[in-house]
Amino acid sequence: MPRLELVGWIAVAVVLCVFAIPWFLWDDATVVAGVPLWLWWHIGWMVLASLVFWLFTQRAWGIGIETASEDASSGVDSSDAASSKRPSRPASGGDRP
């Protein structure tokens, strides 16, 4: 169910934003290994965010944006919109797929 999956990823994004700052440690001044505990939380959270982003690129990249089917052969020129577009210049000097 793509719609449910989309809602799930939006929820994940919101959670990543909300807890980048550890609100539950407000006013806390505990120091661990010379650095405030709340800063350790943040560092760990950013590493976690990177892992979640990696998972997203593996599982769901294109969700909510790509409308062509997942089939690799259905590239950028597979739909009606392509007929109304301006003619694309040939990929000059680049490695456009």
Binding site: D27, M46, S50, E66, A68, D95
Partner: protein, 491 residues
Amino acid sequence: MTLTLQLGIIVGYLLLALVIGLVAYRLTERTAEDFYLASRTFGTIVLLFTTFATLLSAFTFFAGPNVAYQQGPEWVLVMGLMDGIIFAILWYVIGYKQWLLGRQYDYVTLGEMLGDRFGATWLRGLIAGISLLWLFPYVMLQQVGAGTALQALTEGAVPYAVGAGLITAFMILYVVVAGMRGIAWTDTIQGAFMLVVTWVAMLWVLAAVGGPGVATAALEAEAAQHLALGSDHYTPQWMLSTAIVIGFGVAMFPQVNQRFFTAGSRTSFKRSFVLWPILCVLLFVPSFLLGAWALGLGIEADIAGGDNVLPMILAEYTPVWFAALVIAGAMAAMMSSSDSMLLSGSSYFTRDLYRPFIDRTISERTEDLIARIGVVVFATASFLASLWNPATLFELGDAAFSGFAQLALPVMVALYWRRTTRAGITAGILASQLFYLSSLFLAVVPATYAGWSSGLVGMGLGLVVTVAVSLVTTPAADEREAIYFEGLGAD
């Protein structure tokens, strides 16, 4: 000795940049698309570091540590949320969709992308005009910063006008010759350099004072409240307002937004997205902790009087040559942000104002030439403006991030909601811009609302107006909403 060394390092950097620019020029086709976007060819490393260096450079080096010094290290959290998470998500939500559209329809600017979909050249001009309104004073601030830094460095031997003038002339030469490809290559070297130097600086200082435990204990003795999360300055409203507004603003800043179009493949887009939070935390933690620790280590910086704490703590604990290297790097960083802004400013002017409204018939080659002339005009004008020293422009420059943030939500609504109409997005953009400008310049419109900044309130207003007006209007006959919703994919 220090002065010669610093100037030597700065000149050495400039020469290196120029060599890279010349190499890039040899590889460049004489088309506007190549000049602005390097023909959409960037791989992961160049894409990642050019965005990184453009985004963070001078501010991270100087202003960030100053904030941490004055108010405590919570600034790491604000910047981490703003750049590491919010901007990364927008990298996908706005950036990836823009990249697909740009590749399919050859868009070079944000205004072009919106104008085409909504079938309105004047909308394209409006977006470019608003962007230039905020970009121009921001470029001017960079010139003021560089000129003032040179003046301070040489103890007045190089007066402001000469220093800022020289730097402007160099930037013009460099951007005109190198284009996007050369700029991105120097950014890449610079981004890596910044990262390494910041870590070496932190380790050096820590080795000298006896480790992070000692440094933090000293800070606790001096200002215990800096270690506890939150303060009168760092309220939740302030932290969130700042992170959200600047995070969205960054994505609409022309030199960052245009980089969304430059990726060479879907893979480079994905990899940059994954590495982004780690890269941010790797730079922010050492840079801002140094600023915060400086207070405990007895560095007495008069921030309001123009001192920067980072050079001062380096001068105290590291050899002269190293401190000089970092300062030269920071000045170079300032210039690297400015050259990207000049290039983008020129492309907005040429593509969205000159070509549609003055001469539609120009060839690719002529457009490339006009783009280069545009760089000269833009940089010279902002330099001249900086000499005249206008208060209004300074205020606009300081508020540029919030100003750009006002564009973000109407653009996102247009990208993701089919029923957005031309009238809706135009009303949303105008209402939020007018509201935010009024909050800056009119005393009757407050700057904060129960602790939330007017930038954030303006964003909400833009969202509501865009949706509401779209609901009560019907699309004009020449709108082409299918462009954004059909046939988008990447192989």
